[in-house]
Symmetry: C2
Subunit: 548 residues, 2 copies
């Protein structure tokens, strides 16, 4: 998921705070939609046409950031005494409220992103979003996410509890499901009991505005503190650095470019503030010879679909293929080439994505990759790039592994052709941390020895290892890991998708030592508060009460 930042905003202009030439959308701070303290404004654009959209949005200055942080700090204290069931109620009501404005959301998100209305926006992403919110509601009310642990003999008890205000920087590529004010990070942070300050992605402010309106309604209707949900559309980069390192912040979640993520990480790290980043990933796919022989055409279909889905603008897009040299590989690449050329590319999300894709493909070519097909923008209207396949031989890849594994976010992929099996292993050894890694092998067992050689090397470099499957599907499952070693994320122990694990990113470990029973949080009292919560009591997992 990629390319957060000003680059994708076409129209930014500086204004005096009190002299807007036309109505400027307000920001959501402390429960009120109020005029922004803006250092500038921006418009979104329709990437299918390149046209600027009429609505004008503010770039908040530090006054807005500070006001949101102050309100969030107060809300965080208030939320500590709110029952998890009420938080769950709010998340469920939010899901309902999104569905109530489904058509409007799909329409505006389509205008702002050029993603297709059906199936993508209406039938896939919107239900995924409401599904995540409802799963988070269930997890919040049930409570096992907090890993409550009780040593009844010593009367020491601990669990994970809300960490404090969470800043969420949303990406450009999922206007609903990873939106800072409705997506996976939002659901997890709220479910863990924290207020959220959402920093919208400026490429889809209209969809974000509607989502925030519905979020505020849900929060109000459930009686949560009004500042549980706040929204800023945009801020200056230096304010972003100050924002994530502010003493009032509990933690930050960021999904976007590596450059932007690393800057925020440095600021948060220096202040000792947890920050969870999803920065970049090329998601290597290794296709072993037996699989190529057994079902090459089927795999070519799977790869093409996964690689070109939404013009490849997925964080788990398969951007790097690893194959062994041979006639079968040559033929397979030719058959992928034909598929890439046959399928007409969908628009990219913004002018910024188009520019960076051009630059990324050029960088790969300069580093030694040869063009198999594509490689150039397609003339307008809007932002499109020819479906692009590049190839490079193993020795050449090994001569410049860093340059050849730079992400070219969009509908482009690089095939690396290893000379032999050991070179394939060496290539994998040179990979940076990635979100996913896939290995295709045949069903008869002829690839098994090579799988055994390569899988451990890939395993330690990715968060999710797949067999015989492309990585673009990211199921919202308790067992999912949407995370991985640096630099795909900032820490390999956390996932951004999958409940309840994703909630623990936004929590601190709280221990109660000899604390009197009546003063304990409900989750740590002798009685199981809802009869369903799993707790680790005296060396075993149980839904029972503490035995007296």
């Amino acid at each position: 998921m990629n390319y957060h930042g000003g680059g994708s905003v076409p129209t930014i202009r500086c204004v005096a705070n009190d002299k807007y030439s036309m109505p400027l959308h307000p920001v959501l701070i402390a429960g009120k939609w109020r005029p922004a303290n803006a250092s500038g404004t921006f418009h979104a654009e329709n990437p299918a046409t390149g046209e600027t959209l009429p609505d004008e949005y503010p770039i908040s200055d530090w006054q807005d950031c500070g006001a949101a942080l102050a309100a969030a700090a107060t809300a965080a204290v208030e939320l500590r005494s709110v029952a998890p069931e009420r938080i769950a109620d709010s998340l469920t009501k939010f899901a309902d409220a999104i569905e109530a404005r489904c058509a409007e959301l799909v329409e505006i998100a389509h205008q702002e992103t050029a993603l297709v209305k059906t199936p993508r926006l209406q039938d896939i992403e919107l239900p995924r979003t409401t599904g995540q919110l409802r799963q988070a509601a269930v997890a919040a009310a049930e409570g096992s996410w907090a890993l409550p642990t009780i040593d009844s003999k010593l009367n020491i008890r601990s669990y994970y509890a809300a960490i404090g205000p969470v800043c969420i920087f949303g990406p450009n590529n999922f206007p609903f499901a990873f939106n800072a004010v409705s997506g996976g990070d939002f659901a997890a942070a709220i479910a863990a009991g924290n207020p959220v300050i959402a920093k919208a992605h400026p490429s889809h402010p209209g969809a974000t505005r509607i989502l925030a309106e519905q979020a505020l309604r849900a929060v109000s209707s459930s009686g949560l503190p009004p500042a549980t949900v706040q929204l800023l559309y945009h801020m200056q980069p230096e304010d972003g650095l100050r924002f994530v390192s502010d003493p009032r912040v509990g933690a930050t979640a960021f999904t976007g470019s590596r450059a932007g993520g690393l800057r925020l990480k440095a600021a948060a790290d220096a202040a000792g503030k947890p920050i969870y980043l999803e920065m970049s990933s090329i998601n290597p796919v290794v296709i072993l010879p037996g699989a190529l022989k057994e079902r090459g055409e089927k795999i070519a279909d799977e790869f093409t679909n996964s690689s070109l889905l939404a013009s490849g603008q997925f964080c788990t897009n398969p951007g790097l293929l690893v194959l062994l040299r041979g006639d079968a590989t040559t033929q397979w690449l030719e058959s992928v080439k034909q598929r890439f050329e046959k399928q007409s590319p969908a628009p990219l999300l913004s002018a910024g994505v188009a520019r960076s894709l051009s630059a990324g493909v050029a960088a790969l070519r300069e580093a030694g990759a040869r063009l198999v097909t594509g490689g150039a923008p397609i003339s307008g209207p809007g932002y499109k790039f020819a479906n692009t396949l590049l190839a490079v031989d193993g020795p050449q890849f090994l001569a410049a592994p860093d340059r050849l594994q730079q992400e070219a976010f969009g509908n482009a992929a690089l095939a690396v052709i290893a000379e032999d099996e050991d070179q394939a292993e060496t290539i994998l050894e040179g990979l940076e941390g990635n979100l996913t890694g896939s290995i295709y092998s045949d069903s008869a067992g002829s690839d098994d020895a090579l799988y055994t050689q390569l899988a451990p090397v890939l395993r330690s470099r990715v968060g999710r290892l797949l067999n015989d499957k492309m990585p673009t599907g990211v199921a919202v499952s308790a067992a999912m890991n949407h995370g991985g070693p640096f630099p795909s994320t900032g820490h390999p122990g956390f996932t951004a998708v999958g409940l309840p694990a994703s909630m623990r990113r936004f929590a601190m470990l709280e221990c109660f030592d000899n604390v009197r029973r009546s003063r304990l949080p409900e989750a740590l009292r002798d009685e199981n508060p809802n009869g369903r919560m799993w707790r680790w009591i005296d060396g075993r997992s149980t839904q029972n009460d503490v035995e007296s």
Copy 2:
């Protein structure tokens, strides 16, 4: 736990690599005790006498660090295919091997630290150390620590698995229980399946050497890779920074001074390497008026014992008292003063600790604290400091909260006298993150309203909240949290004590998506591998197999 670094090493001299004037202790790299590549050497000293001890130890240069990292990287790969039961066996054998040299260990640790042989070293710290190793063995073999999670319908499975070579920087104050080659971090890192490179604390190299000898025997006897345990006695600060950010490192654990910890943190953060730090903590203790009235003398005893235990050289030493102004408080401080003056101080761990304690007390006085008793070093032999109590009024504390909550590691404490209840709250609001926070209240309920006002403020600023209890006891319990908000540690979600939670610091989240059954790690197969492991399967915790 504090004051790691060269400051506590009395005798450092630079030598040409091949010209040692007397036998220099070898380092443990890749399973062999071999001559160090040394940029200098050092001796420990006996802090009770100030005498330099005869053994000479090397300060390794980067060649040693690099060799240890290379061997650890290989061992990490080999350990992936070692059954957890074998790792558990090695930890148990190590505990036995420590006990086999108990008398020798106690003798040398006493010489190097001046901690008393009984009860401290022999009857408390050594059994704690072997107990931790045996608990880690049980946790490793049982496997629930890894939070195995299975979605059987989607065939997505995940768990925590070894992160790779772990560098451990041990502190000065626990020669056994937090020693880099035998302590809590060591036990957790090994139990999670990682090789350890131990960086000894240079104030007790002799105890560390014996522990490493026993660790190597245990590792060899269990058939683990020889480089599972490696030891360097000392390194240059710049090599330390390079060490924790090396690409071959999985994670680092550090216990020591804030300055040293922050330097290592910056280096590791920039390289995207997880680092777990325990840096400093003053462990506020709030004594409410009812408790003072009800059992002031008892609390004065408890505080004195906790504050002066091992000359206050505990990471959870109660360094800050918060009391309300009044005659009872005045009398109570007088009674603590008498106790402090009556008890003769034990030696400090090193000349460096003595210097920093003098400097710390001076800094508190310069910031406005007045001396109640103590405040000066006691003349030799050895390093002693008068038991020291300081006091400051609330308004003065609030005028310089940062300067007045600097840690003075050792037998010194500062009492803050709040004008009233609201000022007590304001004082707590100004506290940095700490490992612990205690509140004493009366049993009749007269303090309850004030407890309700203050506890939430303290709760969010500490890892462990205690009632009616001093913080120096850190039970090795599954429910313990020996962690807390920055700057007491680097991340409030992790604990350094308490199994199995402390193991998850040294693990990455590994997900297997559609991976064929025979290729799954045992913990994620349909059959529960040992019948005891708790796994989260399809929405519930169970020891059963996956239902087919």
